[in-house]
Each structure stands twice: as C-alpha cells, then as structure tokens.
Symmetry: C2
Subunit: 270 residues, 2 copies
C-alpha cells in the first residue's frame, strides 16, 4: 500500500493530479481511510496510471481516456489509436504549414523591411466573368468536408459521362463565413453545357488571386471587401472561389493558387 506521496513519486505525477483523477473518477485509490480521508494506492494501479499518462501523451483528453478505460475493449482502443494517429499527422502538417508561412513572413521582412503590416499585396480588379457550366452540390458543410464532396462530384461526372473542363470551386452563400459549417456549394466545370446542373452567368465581379495556403484566405477576403467599398462598388451576390492550383496538381500549400470572385454592382451613391 502506497500513500499519495509515494505513489506520485513512482508514477512521476503530482499529488494534485492524483487528487484530481480521484475526483473525476479516472483513478480511484484502492482504499480510502474513512476516518482520515487518506488515500492508499496499490502497486497494480501503477499500470493504469502509466497507461493514462501514455494516452494523455497521444493527445486524448481525460474524458476520452476514461471512456476507453471503462469500456475496456481492445478493439475500441485500437481504432481510437489509429484515429488519433491520423489526427496527429494532420496536426503535424498544419504545424509545418504555419512554419512555412512564418518563414515567408520573415523573408518578406528581409526583402522589404516591412514586418508589422505584413500582408500580401492583392492585385484587385473588376472583370466580366465568362458563363460557367457546372455540376454542383450544395450543403451545409465545413472546409474539412471538401475532399469528400468533391470526390462524389467527380464520381457523378464519371457516371454521367461528362467531361470536366478543369474548373473546381466553391460558392459561399452565407454572409458570415464559418469554416466549421456553412452553406457552401461545391462546383465542377463540365464541357457539356446542356447537361450541366446550372450555369453561373457571366457578370461583373471584383476579383483577385490568392497565392498560398488557404489559412490566409481571410486576408484576401478582407482586402477585397475593403477594395469594393473604396472603389464605389457594392456587394451583389454570393462570392465564389476557383481553385486553380491545388494539392491535386501535386503542389505544396505555398504554391497553391485560388481565384476569388465577388459579384458587385456600381453603387448609386447619392
């Protein structure tokens, strides 16, 4: 039988942590003296404690760990571990991306001496867009679901024997953009104009090209909105993006390119 202090030393965790785990029921001591309230742990509980520490390291929350331990099914743990591995891999990619952005930022400073107001310069202009014949899939979705929906779109295209014209994009119907879940329509251009789901009519748009990963798309968005106001135009419809260079072209995030189109009309300023 080990006291809290002894057990904490062996397991390399703080006494506070043991108290906390007891409180949330993650690791209750073998015996608690009902008179003094003193906790006593057994040597076998060390294994459980070490496993908890390991799972914590893998990035599980204490709640998830408790679930895993309560259920006690090895297959559950196995699949959760696999899932967690994917999550960590994604996280690593994300970190890598941020590092490369940060490097860009620093390089930019060395070239231009400007660092505080580091923002990409966006070349913005109005264009009259061409008609675009597309098949489309509109849903409430998050940015992370793009892959899934795009592949089903391409499957459909194959089934219906349509020929892609290389255009891929997304229309944002919500004014307030939320990357977890928004009203988004994915579109893929097809050559068979007659058999398309819809034709995005050509019209006046303010447009720019965003170079780099999607994480800084909001910069482009902001620049466009500002430009539209400043140049006497007004927002007039759902904006959309066309992904011209992406991971599907085998490129690294920093080389991706996205065209952004904002339907606008001239403001009748009185």
């Amino acid at each position: 039988m080990l006291t809290t202090g002894q057990f904490s030393k062996i397991c390399q965790v703080s006494v506070k942590t043991l108290h906390y785990y007891d409180k949330i029921g993650l690791l209750t001591p073998l015996r608690v003296d009902s008179l003094t309230g003193y906790r006593y742990y057994s040597r076998e509980q060390m294994d459980r404690m070490l496993l908890i520490g390991r799972l914590k390291r893998y990035g599980f929350s204490l709640e998830e760990i408790a679930d895993i331990l309560v259920c006690g099914d090895e297959r559950v743990l196995f699949s959760k571990l696999k899932h967690q591995k994917e999550k960590l891999t994604l996280q690593r990619q994300e970190t890598e991306l941020i590092i490369s952005e940060l490097s860009d930022h620093l390089q930019n400073f060395e070239r231009t001496g400007n660092i505080m107001g580091y923002q990409k310069r966006y070349e913005i202009c109005t264009v009259y867009t061409p008609d675009r014949a597309v098949i489309a899939s509109r849903q409430m979705m998050g940015v992370k679901d793009f892959g899934t929906y795009f592949s089903s779109l391409y499957e459909r295209m194959a089934k219906e024997e349509l020929t892609p014209d290389g255009i891929r994009g997304a229309v944002y119907y919500d004014e307030e953009f939320n990357r977890e879940c928004s009203d988004i329509e994915l579109i893929a251009g097809v050559k068979q104009t007659g058999r398309a789901d819809k034709i995005i009519k050509g019209r006046l748009c303010a447009s720019t090209i965003h170079k780099g990963a999607y994480s800084s798309l909001s910069d482009a968005y902001g620049a466009l909105v500002a430009w539209i106001e400043e140049n006497g135009y007004a927002w007039d419809g759902a904006p959309y993006e066309i992904y011209t260079k992406t991971q599907f072209d085998g490129l690294a995030p920093k080389d991706w390119e996205t065209e952004i189109y904002f339907p606008v009309k001239e403001k009748d300023d009185k």
Copy 2:
C-alpha cells in the same frame, strides 16, 4: 464606420471575440457610443485585426500579441518571430516523436495482441557497477537544459586535456523527479582517473535498459521501483542514467538507449 457585426464578417471573427478583445484592450473600437454602448470600427482597424489573427496562428498568446503591438518595434517583432519559429519546429519534432511512439504501440498490438497493458518489458537485474571516474556539474536544472550543460562539460574537458571514455549520464538527487527543474548532476566519464571530479564507487544496483525516446522513461522508472520492492531490496541512494545511444550518435529517438541504475541494498525484512 462599421458595426460590430459588419466588422466581424469582414475579418472572419466572431462578435464575441471582438467584445473580448475590446475588454482586454487588444483592439478597442474607434468609437463607442456613450449612450447605447454600440461599438464602431474603422476600416483601418481591419489591418490590425488581420495581424492579430496572423500572430495568433503563429502560436502567440493574446498577451504576447498585445505586448508586440504596444511596443511597435519592428526588431522586437522580428526576433520574436524567429523565436516562435524555433518553438514551432520543436513542437513539430515532438509531434513526430509521439506519432512514432504511437506507431510502435500499434505495431506491438499487431504482434502480441496486447494493447491495454502495453508497456515495454524491462529486463531487470542487479549488477555490481564498476567505479566510474567522471567530471560532473550539479545544478537545479530541467531536462531541456541538458544540451547546454553537457556542452560546457565537454568544453571543460577539452580545455583540461582530459580524454572522454564515452560515458555520459545524469544523477537524480531529488526523490521527486520534475522534468522542469530538479537537482541533477550531469556526468561525463574521463580516462584520467586521478584528475576526475569524483569517482562513482562501484556498488550494488538494480538496473535496466530503456530503449526508445526519453518521454517514456517514467515507464522504466516505475518498473524498476516495483521490481526493487518485490524482490526484497530497498532504495539506497540517488539513481542515475547512462546515455549509451543518443542523438549524438546520429540516431532517431526510437533507437536511443539508456541504462538506468538504482543503488539498492538488501532489505532486512524481519
């Protein structure tokens, strides 16, 4: 002039976030109507908001961001960015390490079918250690300081023309091990017995070899402590580790090897 809602949409942040930033003084609106309390932002504040978002993405806390923006010195920002880049790089390495540990864990499951109680099997035995002539440097330090102190130890060795014998290790004087800050003595073996700082006298130790990264050293530690109790020995002095295969040998974390020695004596169990 933009209302909170408009500004939040342009900058792609929530209204709550704007409230919060106002409250902590990170981004106060240009004007606040003293009657209604309504906040109004200017278009120029968008730049500040975008910069805040960017810095947040780089991993700065809001407090750090506030410092940077208040001070407004470009050189400060530059050095902070560089520092942050290093931090992110370390973080990525750490994530990679965890991923490889997780992979090991999964592989281990596929081999042995055991996953819940996944713990390395440690071969533990008692040995009579040889005398070790070492130079040493004892301080309150954290695990992260090992690199610094080891290099100064090796510098000293070069200056005093001592010959290293390849032994590198650390003695832990605190019972309670804390990886941030503990009473630790780094040691490096030398061939000139007479000129060593100290000689670690040969004696009876319980010992094992830990294979893999240091993050799971506590598993070995726990296994040893348990073994010592179970086999009728008692803890008798500060434990130490010898790093036999490390990054200095050009190895990946999973191939590192650490010998752990726990001075013990036979317990006089009555």
